[in-house]
Amino acid sequence: MPDGILGNPGNLVEPDQVHKACYTDDDIFEQELDKIFHKSWIYIGHETQVPKVGDYWTTWVGRERMILCRGEDGVHVLYNRCPHRGAMLCQGLNGNAGKTFRCPYHAWTYNLDGSLFRIPVEEGYDGTAFDPKDPRFSMKPAEQMGIYRGFVFAKLSEGGPDLDTWLGRGARAAFDDICNRSPEGEVEIVQNCFRVIQHSNWKIFLENQLDALHPSITHHSTGEAAAEMQKVYKQRTGEDPPIGYQFLADFTLPYEKWDSLSTYGHPYGHTVLGGYMGLRPRDPITVSHEEALTKAYGAERMDEILSTNVHHVLVYPCLSVQPPLQQLRAVRPLAADKTLTEIWHFRLKGAPEGIYERSLAYYYHVNSPSTMVNADDLQNFNACHEGLRLGGGGDWVSFHRNAGQDPVENGVTTSVTGMSEQPMRNMFAAWKEYMSAGS
C-alpha cells in the first residue's frame, strides 16, 4: 500500500481502478459510515409499511438504529434510543407501539413523534437541569426526513441538498416509474421483508446490481435449468409455463444482448441499468393492465409509462430498485465484511392481480431465501471479499472496460456498451467525493 494512502481515501480511487482497501479496511469502513451513510439521504421504508397509528419498523442507517413509525400526524423517523439511560426502545423488527413508546427499563414514555409524554416518578428533579420540554429528553428524530411518492428517506446530518435535488432525475425515475404503473399513481408495500446477510462489503453488492456482464456467467446453471423446464412444462401440460421460468431463462441470453443495453451514470453515484426482459408481452394480464392505465391516463401516456424499461435503478449508497417488477433491496452495511439487505415488493394500487403475481414470481425466484439466482451471487460476493482480504496477490481492482470511452452530457454518463464498467466508475466517483469532503 502506498504510504499514507488511508489518510486520504481519495487516493484509493483512480479513474479506472480502485485499491482493495476500499472494501476491506476497517478504518475506511468507519469513515464510510461517517462520511457517506451519515451524510447522504438513506432509504428508510415506505409509508404503507406503517399503515396504522402506532405501527413501527426498525432499521439501520449507518451505525445508528432507527424507527420508522406512524403517529396521528403522519410518519416519523426516530433514533431507537431512550434519552434517559440509552436503552433501545424497540427491540424487535416491527410491531405496534400503541399510543406511546414505553421504555422497558424505567417506563419513560414518548409520543409517536418522539416527544416526551411522561416519566413515572416526577419527584427528584427539582433544581436539576431536567426539563421535560427540553428536546434532549425526548426521542431524537432524524436530523432530516424526506418523502418522495411514499418512499421515506432520512439523513442523519444537517444541510446539503434536499431529497428531490439529491435524487435528481436519475433516481426519481425509479419511484416515478413504479408509481406510474399504478392506475392510481400509488404503490402499497407487501408486509414481508426477506433479510439476507452477505459476508462481503456493501459496495460489492451495489456493483453487481449494475453488472450486465455477470448474469449469463454467474447464473448460467439456473438459466439453463429454467430453459429446460420451460420445454418439459409445455410437453407435459400442453400449456405455456408460468412467467417465472422466463425470468430465469433470460440468464441464458448471449453477451451481445447484454452489451446492447445501456447504463446511465447520474450525479451522487445514482446509476441506472436498462431493461432486458420482455415485460410487455401480449398476454391477457398485460392487456388488462394497459386498459386500466389507458382509462386512468389516456392511451398516449399509458404507452409512455409501459415503454419505460429499466432493470435496476441504484440509489447510491443505500438502495436498488426494480420498478417494472415492483421490488427493492435496501443495503445496510454492518461491517466492512458484513452487509444486510432488506428485500421488499409492492402492489400497484388498482392494477390487475396478475401484475402483482408477476412481481411475486420474481420476488420468489430472485429474492426469496431459497433463490437459485442470488445463491450464486452471494457465492461470488464472498469469494471477492475473501480474495480482496489477501495480501500478496495484488492491490487493485480493475474497472478498465470501456474506461474513458463513455460519453457525458449534462452531467449524465451513458455507457458505450451494456457491459461497460461505467456504473462502477460512476459509483466510485461519488464515493471519492463523499470521502474527500472535509478531509
Binding site: R195, A226, P369
Partner: protein
C-alpha cells in the same frame, strides 16, 4: 434366513398375532409406524441427495411449502420461502446438479433427525393422513456449519405404492430471521 425362522415361529400363536395386529390398528400404531418410516425415509433421501426418489415422494399435484410466517394460512398468492410443485422442484434439481452451479462447489451436506411424530388425522375410507413432526437439520458446506429446526406438517395420500405427499408444510423457527447465505434446496 434368520428372519424366516422367526416368521415360522411367529406363525404358531396365529389367533393371538391377529388380535395383536387388530389392536395395533385400532390404536393407530400401524399408521404411526408407517408414517414414521415414511418420514425417516424422506429425510434419508434428502440427506443422500437422491433426487429422483425425492421427486417420487410427491403426488402429481404435490407441493413443498415453507411459509415466511407461522400464521400464514396459504401459499397461494403470498410471499414464501419455498412454494414448489414438481416442475419447480425438478428445475431446482437440474440447477443444483449443473456443472456451473458455483454455490454447489463444494456441495452442501445435510443431516436430518425427525421426531415427535403425531398423527393428526386419518381418513377411514381413503387412509389419507395428516401428520405433524419436528426436525433438526445440520448443514455443512465449505467449512461452515448451519443449524435449522422446525416442524413439518405432511398431508399424505395413501396409494398402492405407499404414502405420497400432497402438501408438506415446513415451519422453521428462524423463518423471520435474516438468512445467512440462502437455502440451496429443501430442508
Amino acid at each position: 434366513m434368520a428372519r424366516d425362522k422367526k416368521d415360522k415361529k411367529a406363525k404358531k400363536p396365529k389367533a393371538k398375532a391377529k388380535n395383536h395386529r387388530a389392536n395395533r390398528r385400532a390404536n393407530g400404531l400401524d399408521t404411526q409406524r408407517a408414517v414414521e418410516q415414511f418420514l425417516y425415509n424422506q429425510a434419508e433421501i434428502l440427506d443422500e441427495r437422491r433426487w429422483d426418489d425425492w421427486l417420487g415422494l410427491f403426488t402429481k399435484d404435490g407441493k413443498y411449502w415453507m411459509p415466511p410466517r407461522e400464521d400464514q394460512e396459504t401459499g397461494e398468492g403470498m410471499p414464501n420461502i419455498f412454494y414448489e410443485d414438481l416442475f419447480l422442484m425438478d428445475m431446482r434439481v437440474r440447477r443444483v446438479e449443473h456443472p456451473y452451479a458455483h454455490s454447489q462447489k463444494p456441495k452442501n451436506k445435510m443431516s436430518h433427525v425427525i421426531g415427535n411424530v403425531v398423527i393428526e388425522s386419518e381418513d377411514r375410507k381413503t387412509g389419507d393422513v395428516v401428520a405433524r413432526s419436528k426436525f433438526h437439520v445440520v448443514e455443512f458446506r465449505n467449512d461452515n456449519q448451519r443449524y435449522f429446526a422446525g416442524k413439518y406438517r405432511h398431508h399424505l395420500k395413501k396409494t398402492k405404492d405407499g404414502y405420497k405427499i400432497r402438501l408438506q408444510r415446513v415451519d422453521i423457527v428462524s423463518a423471520e430471521g435474516p438468512f445467512d447465505y440462502v437455502l440451496q434446496y429443501w430442508l
